[in-house]
Symmetry: C2
């Protein structure tokens, strides 16, 4: 293992009706709360009312920022920053999926500086000095943002989808109630599962590849994810499967699977401009990019890919060469994504050969592990995905 | 999965020479530091000098409490509490294994109350209102105390070995340098490996047993532990194996493997009076008790024990009944402990049939998961271990 530092102070409330812990969870913070949410599905499901009732019981004054969309944009962040300053907000509460949480995180640091949040943090990557504390109530398991210190924001004007990390944007708490995910449409479920699996791949398929604790944990998590995904797709109200999916997405990015690993993120770097240019769901983009990326770098770590086939997919090694095992492991990933109903080609995302250059131009080439990617590599991978 | 709350704010510095992070790690705390350690091996290895040099560079005034022994005792805790009060200590730094850390934790809460620490916390289990902050530098991977909120202290006068939990005694940081364990004697290594495995068993062998993320993580961790243990026993300076052993012992008790599980602790409850009465190493006691306990409760969860054999020990299920698989899994545990050179019988600990009643009298019967243990059950398990 490489040396590492690990720190994750997020307080997790997990289980049915844990929303009832909200009153206690927000108690230590100031009275003026900004509630951030998306397109309004939380009103239809009754979650909005339950949240407001808890906040009122806690004696809080509630302000609202609705309308955060998937691939959250700079405009919404500026709107939130403005609101925080005007209303002197003490605490941000994100109710939704990764987009809502990431928007909240960007507001949290942006509201505490006089400088432009996009340039300062998402372009320059400067360390934030302060942030408004935030908490989350998760409704879509996928991005892991509820338990990490990252935010991804899209600048529509420049077609940039950038990431920012700071320990100041760890949620103070996250409430995870698997029953809140029972009503998710199947395509959102599939995207979330692909996103979670892709996160684990970014950490697992990276040096060191000799035996290490972190890879064993990743293999366990992948097996749990595959089982739960199939069970939840078959019966969307299977509580245990939903619970496993929700907790897997959080554990995947809580830092435990980074420990001692180089980590990769190349597939995410290639996918980000696809989302930014074509506004496709992040999980759908990853379903197309990641298997092709794995295929492309497979020969750099043949033993690891063979191990993946055996340990995660239980491929019988009898009579198979290392290469055959490696190929079979990736074939299983593709088949699994297909089984979920996720897209497999750029064409299904509405992206054609003519778009490849623009995507490659916008791909951040600083992410890599097995192979330093060139622009040409990105073009090759995207061609494989047509 | 059952509902759960998870929170673990320990900051981990992992890797070679991470002791050099100490100056930065203690910076946020007050100037008066109490250094707590054991029998003096840290002076022989040079660690003591490195620690003092870092603390001096950080501008701290250092006080010392040496001589904490295995199965740390109330007397040492009282001595530490007295010292903290007299010298107005701001921060406790434990340098050693689980005994030193646990002693530190008991001092941390004891020094902040006017009442008797043993009666208040370790007998009554009252929640602590305050604690002196503490950090650790780990030298023996085993108890997981470096990343949990528990302390175990022995009262020699009453032959009680009791546990206390409080979020206030989470270490603020723990420094884990695997090279510090290169010089550990083989029997201490073996005890640490058994202790770590036993912790994972206490969490894994408990409801729920239907598929859940936490069990998959536990299986991954057990596999990593078995591999690393064999490699480190063969070559004590195998850095990767030592790193895996060290990190596995921390992850085992950081809370991740408790999430959504009932958890057991019966083997620990039976072992504690053995340590308290006969002053045997905790890991040695567990090596004797735990396999027999598993054998005793096996029939309560046959499918789980069969799964354990296949997933952890890779036992081929072909032609084997569920019961045969379960038996084989436990046989592998016993063989593994023997391979490490750990004791297998009470006789090897100097404990005879005549001692069984005293041990059973002192066993806390409130711990159980598959089976509510009676005093008679404890006697039966101990007889199996003769």
């Amino acid at each position: 293992m490489y040396d590492f530092h690990y720190y994750n102070p997020v307080r997790i409330y997990f289980g049915k009706d844990q929303v009832n812990q909200l009153k206690e969870a927000v108690a230590p913070y100031g009275p003026r709360i900004l509630l951030v949410y998306g397109g309004g599905s939380i009103k239809r499901t009754g979650l909005y009312d339950r949240v407001l009732s808890q906040l009122r019981e806690a004696g809080k004054t509630v302000f609202e920022l609705p309308g955060v969309m998937p691939n959250p944009r700079t405009e919404k962040v500026y709107e939130g920053i403005e609101l925080c300053r005007r209303e002197n907000i003490d605490f941000l509460l994100a109710v939704g999926g990764g987009s809502v949480i990431d928007c909240c995180k960007a507001i949290a640091v942006g509201a505490k500086t006089d400088r432009d949040f996009w340039q300062t943090f998402f372009i320059n990557g400067e360390p934030a000095a302060d942030a408004i504390p935030l908490g989350t109530i998760l409704t879509i398991p996928a991005t892991g943002s509820e338990m990490d210190m990252s935010a991804v924001i899209t600048n529509w004007a420049t077609s940039e989808k950038n990431n920012y990390d700071s320990p100041l944007i760890y949620p103070r708490f996250s409430i995870l109630d698997p029953t809140l995910t029972f009503t998710l449409p199947k395509n959102q479920m599939a995207n979330g599962i692909v996103d979670t699996m892709s996160h684990i791949f970014e950490l697992y398929f990276s040096p060191p590849d000799e035996d290490n604790v972190t890879d064993y944990l990743a293999e366990g998590l992948l097996r749990a994810l595959i089982r739960a995904a199939r069970a939840a797709m078959a019966d969307p109200t299977d509580y245990d499967a939903r619970a496993d999916l929700m907790w897997t997405s959080s554990v995947a990015l809580c830092g435990m699977l980074n420990n001692g690993k180089k980590t990769d993120w190349a597939s995410h770097c290639i996918e980000h401009p696809i989302s930014a240019l074509f506004d496709v769901a992040h999980g759908a983009g990853l379903a197309v990019v990641h298997p092709n990326y794995l295929e492309y770098v497979r020969s750099c770590a043949p033993a690891k890919f063979a191990r993946f086939a055996q340990r995660v997919w239980e491929v019988d090694p009898a009579g198979k060469s290392q290469d055959e095992l490696a190929v079979e492991g990736i074939r299983r990933v593709k088949a699994f994504f297909r089984e979920l109903g996720a897209p497999a080609t750029l064409a299904e995302l509405g992206v054609g050969e003519a778009d490849i250059d623009r995507i490659a131009d916008l791909t951040d080439l600083s992410c890599w592990s097995y192979k330093p990617l060139t622009r040409e590599d990105v073009v090759n991978i995207l061609r494989m995905a047509l």
